[in-house]
C-alpha cells in the first residue's frame, strides 16, 4: 500500500497520547510507523483511516479467533483512525489497568451487543475457542451450563457486567493472556 504523507508526530501530540493511553513513547512511535505504511497515500495521518480488513490482517491479530469482534469494538463507523488504533493498543498493552481490560473484554465477548453475555454469546465464544473436530453438541451445552451456573449470580441466564467482572477478578490468568504487542519493530 502507499504511504501517508510522512509527517513527524509533533512533540505535543506525543505527550498528549502518552497521557491519554498506557503506551510508552517507543510503542506510540512504532504504531505510528506501521500506520503510515498501511494507510492510503496522500493523506495526513490524523485524517487517514484503515479498513477493518486491514487491521484484521495485522500480524498481531491475524490468527486471533476474536479479531472481528476486536475490530468492531474499537472502530468507529467501520473504520479505524490513528487514534482508534492507539486506543486498541493501549487497552491491550501490558501496563493497562485491569478494570479497563475487563471492560473491553466484556464488550468483545458480547457478540449480540445487548449489554449482556447470554447463552448465545457463550456458545459462540466456545465455538471459536475450539477446533471444529474437537467440538460436540454435548460439550457445548455442558460448558455453557457450567459457566452460567457458576457465574450467573442473579439467575437470569445471562452474565451482566458486574458478574463478568466478579468472575474475572478472581483469575490472574486474564491479565496475562489479554495482552497483545502491536509493535513488531
Amino acid at each position: 500500500m502507499g504511504q501517508c504523507l510522512r509527517y513527524q508526530m509533533h512533540w505535543e501530540d506525543l505527550e498528549e497520547y502518552q497521557a491519554l493511553t498506557f503506551l510508552t513513547r517507543n510503542e506510540i512511535l512504532c504504531i505510528h510507523d506501521t500506520f503510515l505504511k498501511l494507510c492510503p497515500p496522500g493523506k495526513y495521518y490524523k485524517e487517514a483511516t484503515l479498513t477493518m480488513d486491514q487491521v484484521s490482517s495485522l500480524p498481531a491479530l491475524r490468527v486471533n479467533p476474536f479479531r472481528d469482534r476486536i475490530c468492531r469494538v474499537f472502530s468507529h463507523k467501520g473504520v479505524f483512525s490513528f487514534e482508534d488504533v492507539l486506543g486498541m493498543a493501549s487497552v491491550f498493552s501490558e501496563q493497562a489497568c485491569p478494570s479497563l481490560k475487563i471492560e473491553y473484554a466484556f464488550r468483545i465477548y458480547d457478540f449480540n451487543e445487548n449489554g449482556f453475555i447470554d447463552e448465545e454469546d457463550l456458545q459462540r465464544i466456545i465455538l471459536r475457542l475450539l477446533n471444529s473436530d474437537d467440538m460436540s453438541e454435548d460439550l457445548l451445552m455442558d460448558l455453557t451450563n457450567h459457566v452460567l451456573s457458576e457465574s450467573d449470580l442473579d439467575n437470569d441466564n445471562m452474565l451482566s457486567f458486574s458478574e463478568f467482572e466478579h468472575a474475572m477478578a478472581k483469575s490472574p490468568d486474564f491479565m496475562n493472556s489479554f495482552r497483545i504487542h502491536f509493535w513488531g519493530c
Partner: protein
Amino acid sequence: MLPLRSVPSERAPGVPEPEELWEAEMERLRCSGVPVRGLPYAMMDKRLIWQLREPAGVQTLRWQRWQRRRQTVERRLREAAQRLARGLGLWEAALYEIGGLFGTGIRSYFTFLRFLLLLNLLSLLLTASLVLLPLAWLRPPDPGPALNLTLQCPGSCQSQPGVLRFHNQLWHVLTGRAFTNTYLFYGAYRVGPESSSVYSIRLAYLLSPLACLLLCFCGTLRRMVKGLPQKTMLGQGYQAPLSAKVFSSWDFCIRVQEAAIIKKHEISNEFKVELEEGRRFQLMQQQTRAQRACHLLSYLRVNILIGLLVVGAISAIFWATKYSQDNKEESLFLLLQYLPPGVIALVNFLGPLLFTFLVQLENYPPNTEVNLTLMWCVVLKLASLGMFSFSLGQTILCIGRDKTSCESYGYNACDYQCWENSVGEELYKLSIFNFLLTVAFAFLVTLPRRLLVDQFSGRFWAWLEREEFLVPKNVLDIVAGQTITWMGLFYCPLLPLLNSVFLFLTFYIKKYTLLKNSRASSRPFRASSSTFFFQLVLLLGLLLAAVPLGYVVSSIHSSWDCGLFTNYSAPWQVVPELVALGLPPIGQRALHYLGSHAFSFPLLIMLSLVLTVCISQTQANARAIHRLRKQLVWQVQEKWHLVEDLSRLLPEPGPSDSPGPKSPASQASRPRSFCPGFPCPGSPGARAPPPGPSVVDAAGLRSTCPGPHGTPASARRFRFPSVAEL
C-alpha cells in the same frame, strides 16, 4: 449536581431528562479520581474529559504547571522502574517471539529464569559492595601465621605415592582446586583483629549471605502474592474456575497459525478435563462412608510406595557422599570426586519416570495425577539436596555420629584443614555438574533424538517423537540450581556470579531446544497457578538453604587455619564483640533487651493477636458475601414477580409494539452514551445509564446510532424466565 431544567416534559415525573443524565455523567467523570487513560472511551471522548478536568484556556498558575510536569516525570520514572524490576528489559524480543509461538505457559518458564538471573545479580552486587570492595579498598594486613596447634590424627594423612594425580588444568577448574586461594572461596579472606573504628569486614561477610537470602525471600514472596489465584481467599462454593477459564484461556499474544491450532487443542483438552473433574467430584460426594475409606486407602497405598522409593533414593545419596568423602585417597579418586552429584542426577532422572508410572496405575483424575507426581518430584529433589548437605555435615562436622574426631576443634580437623573450603568445593562441583548436565542433555539427547526422528520413518521413530518441552521439569532444575547457590553463599561468596553465567547460557540453550528440537506438550499448562507453585518451591529451597546456614553460623567452630573467624567459637560471636566494642552502653542494653525473652514473648503474643483478627475478619467477610449472594437472588426473584404482576395489569400489546413488557424508564429515549457503537455494559445505577440509541451531540462526541438494535435489545432484557428457573 446541575440544576433541573425548567422545560416541562411529557415524561413521567421522576424520570430524569436525557440531557440531565448526560451532564450528571460528565460531572461524575470529571470529578472521579480515575486517571483519564483508564477510562473506557474513545480517544476524542477522553480528550474532552481531560480538557474538562484541566481547562487549557485558563491561566494556569505556575505551581500547577510545575505539578503537571512533576507528575509526568514521576510517571516516566515509575515506568522505567517497572521495566527494570521486570528484568532490565532483557530478552524482551525473545520472550515476545516465544509467547507468540507457544503461548504464555511456556513463556512463564523463561520469565522465571529471568527473575532468577536478576536475583543472582542482585546478590552478587550486595556481596561485592559489602565485602569485596571494602576489602580491596582498605587492604587490611594479614594477621600472620596461624596458631601452631598439634594434631593427633589417627592413621597417616599423607597421600599414597602410587595414586594417579591429575594435574590437568581443566580438572582443577572443574573441582575448584584452581581457585582455592582466590576470593571465590572462604579460605582466602583474611583480616586483622576487630576494632571499632575500622569497617568490619567480618561483620559484612557474616551478614551479606543473610541479607541476600532476605532479599530473595522478599522478592519471591512479592512475586508469589501478585500471581495468587483469588479463589483460595474466599469460602466454599466460591470457585469459578471454569467460567474464568472460558474467558481467559485464549492467549491473545499468539500470532502463528500452527500455535493457534495447538492452543485450541489444549483448550478443548482442558475443558474436557475440567468437566470430568466436576463429574468425579459429584460422584465422590455421593459415595458412602465405606467407599470413601476405600478411596483413601488407595491414596495411601501409592503414596507409601512412592515414599519408600524416595527414602531409598536419599539413602543412596547419603552412602554415595559418605563413600566419596571416606575414600579420598583411592585410585578411583577422579570418579569419586563426582560421585555424589552423579547419584543425585541419576536419582532425579529415574524418580519422576517411576512416579509417573506408579501414579498412572491408580485411576486418579488427571489433575490429581499431575499434582501428585509434581509434589513427589519436588520432595525428591529437595530431599536429595538436603541429604547431601546433611551427609557433608556428618563427615566434616561429626553431626549425627560419634564425635571423637571432632572433640578437639569442633570439626574434623584431621581430614579437613579448611573445612569451609571443602564444603564450598563440593557445592561448586554440584553447581557445575548441574549445568554440564543441562548442556549434555540438550546436545547429546534431545538433538540426536530430533535428528533421528526426522530422518527415519519407522514405527518406532514415529512413536518416539521429538522430546516434549516440559515446563515443570525445567523449572525444578533451575530451582535446584538456585538452592545450591543459596546453600553455598557463606562458603563460596561468588557462587551467584557463576550461577548468573549458567542461567544466562541456559536461557539460550533452552530457547534453542524449544524452537528447534521440541514439540509442544499435549497437557495444557496454566501459567498462573503453577507459577505460584514454583515460587512456593523456590521458597522451600530457600528455607532448606537457610537452616544449615543458620546452624553453622551460630554453633559451629570455624577452621583455625583459614578464613575470617579463626579465633571465634562460632562466626556469630563477632556480633556481640562488635556490639561491646562499638555501641554506647545504652545501645548495648537496647540490643540485649531485643534479644531477650522479655521482648520476644510479648511480640509473639501480639503477632498471634493480629493473626487472629485477620482470620476472623476473613471469615466474617466470607459470611457477608454468602449473605449478599442470597440477597441478590431474592431481589431478582422479587423483580421477576413484579414484572409478571405488571404484565398482567398492563393492556395487551398491539401488533406494532415490540413483545414483552417494558419498564417505564425504557419508554423514554435513553440518554446519550459515549460508547463507540453500542450500549455501555453494566447494571444501571452504578455505571452509565442503560443502552439506547445514542446521538451525535453538540460536543462532538463520536457515537454511532445503533438504530435497529434499540428496541429488540430492551425486549430481550425482560425475557420471561421459565417456571423451572424460578
